[in-house]
Amino acid sequence: MLLRKTALCIAVGLMLASPSYAATKDIIYASESTAKSMDPHDTSDTYSGAIQRAMFQGLLGFDENLNVIPVLAESYTFNDTATEFTFKLRKGIKFHDGAPFNAEAVKVNIDRMMTGKYKRSSLMKPVKEVTVVDDSTIRFTLKEPFGAFANTIAHPGSLIQSPKALAQYGDEVSKHPVGTGPFIFEDWVSGDHVKIKKNPDYWRGQVKVDSITFKPVPESGARLAMLRAGQAHYIYPMPAELQQVAEKDKNIELISKPSIIARYLIMNTKYEPLADQRVRQAINYALDKQAIIKIAWGGAAKEVDSIIPADLPFYKKQSPWPYDVAKAKALMKEAGYEKGFKVTFLTPNASNRLRATEMAQQQLKEIGITGDIQSMDTASFYNKLEGNKVDQAKDLPFIAFGGWSSSTGDADWALRPLVATEAFPPAMSNFGFFSNKDVDGYIQAGLASADNKVRGEAYGKLQDAIWPMAPWGYLFVDTLYAAKVKKLKGIYPMADGAFSVENAELVD
C-alpha cells in the first residue's frame, strides 16, 4: 500500500517536473487589421504586405530602420544616369514549390506587374523593359532617370513569386502564395486568420519557430487581454489608452518607435462643398488635432507639419494649422457655406479610428458640417473607397478617416499614390480625387531625377504648395506602439507599420 502511494507520488512528481520538450513553438500575432490578399503584386495594405514578407522575398528589402538592403540579389549596380539597374542574383535558392529562383523567375514577376492590372503595377511604371542577362543577372531599363528605384524594388509590392505558382494558379495566387521566404503558407481563413509554418529548406537556415498565426482582433482591449492571457504573443498596435494596465503586467514588454504612418481625413474633393479650398481649409482650422491625439489615440502620435511624415527623406516642415474655430467659421461663410452641409463620415471600425472619426464629427459640427458615421471592417472600408469612380464622385458626400505609410521609405510613395491625378481609384489610393496640375508636375519632377538635390527641391516645392491647398484634414503621425510577451524575441515593428518575423524565437 505504502509502496503504491510512493510510486504514485513519484509518478505525479515526474509529470510535474518534466519540462515540456515536445511543445511546439507556435506564435500568435494579433493585429487590428484583416488580411486582404496574399498576392504581393495586388496588395495595397501594409498588414497583408507584412504577412507576405514572411513568405516572399524581394531582390532588395529593408532593415529595421528602412535602409535598403540586398536580399535575393547579392548586389546591384546602376549607370551614371540612373536609367539602368543591374542586379546580381543569389544562386541555389528554390521557391517553396521547388521551382528555381533565377533571372527568368524575376522577369516573369516584373512582366506580370508591368501588365498594369494589379494594385502595385504602378511601382513598375518607370520601367521600360527588363532583360535576362544570364541566369543570375537581370537588368531593368527605365524610361527616365529614377534615383529611388532601389526603394521601389525593396517595396513589398515587388516581392518575387514562384513562376510555377503563377502559371498554375494565375490570379488565384492571391490564395496560394509561394515564395522563397523563411515561412511557407499553411492556410488562410478569410476574416479569421492566416497561418504560416517554418520553411525547412530556407536558404538562410531554418527559423526558430514552428509557425506563426496572424489573427485579426480589431478591438484593442481584446487584443491586450489576449496577450495577458497568453492567447497571443505579440500584439500590434498596443492600445495606448491601456498603457497603465500593460505596464503592471510582469510578462509583457512594451515597444514604441516613431513611425512614418500618416493619419488624415480624406475629403472627397469632387463633392461640391469640399471642392472649395476654403471649406477644406476651414476643416483644418476646425480640427483640434491635439485633443484627437490625446483622446482618440491615447497620446501615441505627433501632429503632422507637412503632408509627408518627418522621418521620410525630402520632408520639409510647414507651419501647423492652428485650432481656430472662429477662423474656420469665417472661411465657411466666405465660401458660402455659413449654414454648413451634410457629409457621411466613413471609418474602419477599429476603436481608435472610430473615436478619431467621432471627434472629427463633433468638431466639424461646430462649423456646420454634420453627418452620420458609417464604420466597417478595414477590408470593406478600402473596398468601398476603391470602388468609387471619378465620374460619380460628385454625388458622394464623404469624409473618410485615412492612413498611409510609404512602404518604399521614399517621399514619392508618400505622395504620388495619394494626391496625384493618375492615382484616382482604382489605380492607386487618391480616394479624395484630389487633382492639381502643379502638384502633378512636382511629383513628375521628383520621379524623373536621380539627383537628390533636384528631387529634394521638387518635393520641397510640392510640400509648400500642397499644404495650404488642404487636400486632407491633416491630423498626425503615429508613434508605433506594440507589446509582446517577454519570452518572445526577434519580432520587431518597422517604421511603416509593417513588421519583421524572420528572427522570431521563443526563449524560456
Binding site: 484593442s220 491601456l242 494596465v245 471600425n349 467621432e358 458609417q374
Partner: protein, 283 residues
C-alpha cells in the same frame, strides 16, 4: 345600495400586490418612464456637450456617474438613453404584437392552408436564435435604430402568433362564441370582439417580458455598431465606446451596464408578477 361585485381588475390587483418584487418592479418602471419623458429636467448636463479637458473623470458631485472619453456627462447620457431604450423596446414589441396577434387570430380561426402557412413561417423564424435573426435583418437593412425596431419586431411576431393561435383554437369552440356565430355575427366580429379579448392576458404577460428582451437586443445591436450610431446616447453604444478603457476607467462601462441590467431585470420581474396574477392555472 351597494353591489358586492369583484371586478376583474380588483381580482388582478389582489393577486398582483402579493408579489412584492413585481410591485417594486412596477414602481421602477413608472419611475423610468417618468425619467425618460422628463429627461431634460432630470439630466444635470447636456448629453452631447463634449469637454475634452474633463475626459474620463471618475464619479464626482459634478458628474455623479463620471464622464466619458469625450468628457460628456455619463449620468445625463444614461437618462437620455432611457428614452431610446424604452422607445425601441416598446415600439418594437408593439409592432410585433399587433402583427403577431392578427396572424395568430387568422391562423387559429380559419385553420387549414392559412394556418399551415403562418405557422410554418413562424417555425422558420423560430429556428434562428433571436439575436442572430436580428443581426441578419439589420445586415440586410443597414445599421440604424429604425432598422433595429424592424428587426426586433420581426423576431417577436412568431411567438405572439403562436400564443394567440393556441388560445383562439380553444376559444372558438366555447359556448359563447358558438352562440354569437349562431345569431349571425360576422367573422371579423367573432375574431376581434369575441375571441381576441380572451387571448389578451397571455399577450400582455408576454408583451411585458418581451420588452426586456427587446431592450437588451437593441443594446446588443448598438454595442456591435449595428444600432444607434454615435453620438446618440444609447446604452449599448455607450458600452461599446467605453470597452477599451476597462481597467483604466471602469465607471464608463459600469453605469450603462447597470442601467441595462436593472431595466431588463425589472421588466422581467414585472412580467412574472403579471403572469402570476393573470394566469388562472397559477394560484
Amino acid at each position: 345600495m351597494e353591489h358586492n361585485v369583484v371586478s376583474p381588475f380588483d381580482l388582478f390587483w389582489h393577486k398582483f400586490k402579493k408579489r412584492r418584487t413585481a410591485l417594486v418592479a412596477a414602481v421602477f418602471i413608472v419611475f423610468l418612464v417618468v425619467v425618460a419623458v422628463f429627461a431634460p429636467l432630470f439630466a444635470p448636463h447636456d448629453p452631447m456637450t463634449t469637454d475634452y479637458a474633463q475626459s474620463m473623470q471618475p464619479p464626482s458631485l459634478e458628474h455623479p456617474a463620471g464622464t466619458d472619453v469625450y468628457g460628456r456627462d455619463i449620468l445625463s447620457r444614461i437618462i437620455y438613453g432611457s428614452r431610446i431604450s424604452l422607445a425601441v423596446g416598446f415600439t418594437s414589441v408593439l409592432v410585433g404584437a399587433l402583427v403577431g396577434v392578427t396572424l395568430g387570430l387568422i391562423s387559429g380561426f380559419f385553420g387549414g392552408f392559412l394556418d399551415g402557412l403562418i405557422m410554418r413561417t413562424s417555425d422558420v423564424l423560430f429556428a434562428f436564435p433571436g439575436i442572430l435573426l436580428a443581426i441578419a435583418i439589420v445586415a440586410i437593412l443597414g445599421p440604424g435604430l429604425v432598422n433595429v425596431v424592424v428587426a426586433v419586431s420581426v423576431f417577436s411576431m412568431p411567438t405572439f402568433a403562436r400564443i394567440v393561435r393556441g388560445s383562439t383554437l380553444g376559444l372558438k369552440e366555447t359556448l359563447y362564441v358558438r352562440a354569437a356565430r349562431s345569431v349571425g355575427a360576422s367573422r371579423r366580429r367573432l375574431m376581434f370582439v369575441h375571441i381576441m379579448p380572451g387571448t389578451l392576458s397571455g399577450v400582455i404577460v408576454y408583451f411585458t417580458m418581451r420588452i426586456g428582451t427587446s431592450i437588451i437586443t437593441a443594446a446588443s445591436l448598438s454595442f456591435l455598431g449595428l444600432g444607434a450610431q454615435p453620438p446618440t446616447p444609447e446604452w449599448g453604444a455607450m458600452l461599446a465606446e467605453s470597452r477599451d478603457y476597462i481597467g483604466v476607467a471602469d465607471h464608463m462601462t459600469i453605469f450603462p451596464g447597470i442601467a441595462i441590467f436593472l431595466t431588463v431585470l425589472f421588466f422581467n420581474l414585472f412580467g412574472d408578477g403579471l403572469r402570476a396574477a393573470l394566469d388562472p392555472k397559477l394560484k
